[in-house]
């Protein structure tokens, strides 16, 4: 059963990855990558059970955390770029 879950996760990873490759645009990719991050959290959890050592779930917690930080960073920093480039795009040439 656990192996089936793993297979489903891997297939979903590939599907999400295709979306990340195809885009279009930044937001589709961010969405795909955010979803992909959740998949990796699940991957770590399931892999732990699959290979008989489930005590390393700390890694899953960390993945969830950094995934969130990265998403927030993308949104913050892309938005900010527009502000700056509007204000002084001309000067910098």
């Amino acid at each position: 059963m656990i192996f089936a879950v793993m297979a489903a996760l891997l297939v979903t990873m590939v599907l999400t990855l295709l979306r990340a490759f195809l885009g279009p645009g930044l937001y589709n990719r961010i969405l795909a990558i955010n979803t992909f991050g959740t998949k990796t959290v699940l991957f770590v959890a399931v892999a732990g059970f699959l290979f008989g050592r489930p005590e390393f779930l700390d890694i899953g917690i960390l993945y969830a955390l950094v995934n969130f930080v990265a998403t927030v960073a993308v949104l913050r920093l892309t938005h900010y770029r527009e502000l700056v480039s509007e204000a002084e795009g001309g000067e910098r040439g």
Binding site: G52, R53, R92
Partner: protein, 134 residues
């Protein structure tokens, strides 16, 4: 051969992809991204060396028999840290280059430097000429 070495070959392929990006792309940031890819390939190669079939993470526990080797993991921990330190310095330099030149494309930076040098030389020539004439 394929069954036992495909893993190494994939790691090598990752290194080569990174190396290609570093060498042939002119954008400084893309170069740094390529550099990280290159390094990640090497990290994976090291970790691959320590893996043992049916092994488990080298955290000693009563009900586990075989462990993968801890030494490559320690080395790569160090190497990852060195890699991110280099990346941070490279990015800081890229920001400063952008502020100084207005671009992060290597070719454009070089072009701007050489036009500056040519302009300087012209000025000098002109000054010399004036000095000789008067």
């Amino acid at each position: 051969m394929i069954a036992s070495h495909y893993v190494y070959w994939t790691f090598f392929a990752l290194m080569l992809i990174g190396l290609y990006v570093v060498i042939s792309h002119g954008n400084l940031l893309k170069k740094l991204i390529g550099l990280s890819l290159f390094q990640v390939g090497v990290f994976l190669f090291y970790i691959g060396l320590g893996k043992q079939d049916g092994g488990s993470a080298p955290i000693i526990s009563d009900d586990v028999e075989t462990y993968s080797h801890p030494l490559p993991q320690v080395l790569i921990l160090t190497a990852i840290v060195v890699g991110v330190a280099t990346l941070a310095v490279g990015l800081a330099l890229a920001v400063r280059i952008f502020e100084a030149y207005g671009t992060v494309e290597e070719d454009e930076v070089l072009e701007r430097d050489s036009t500056e040098r040519l302009a300087e030389r012209d000025r000098e020539r002109a000054a010399e000429h004036d000095g000789g004439g008067s």
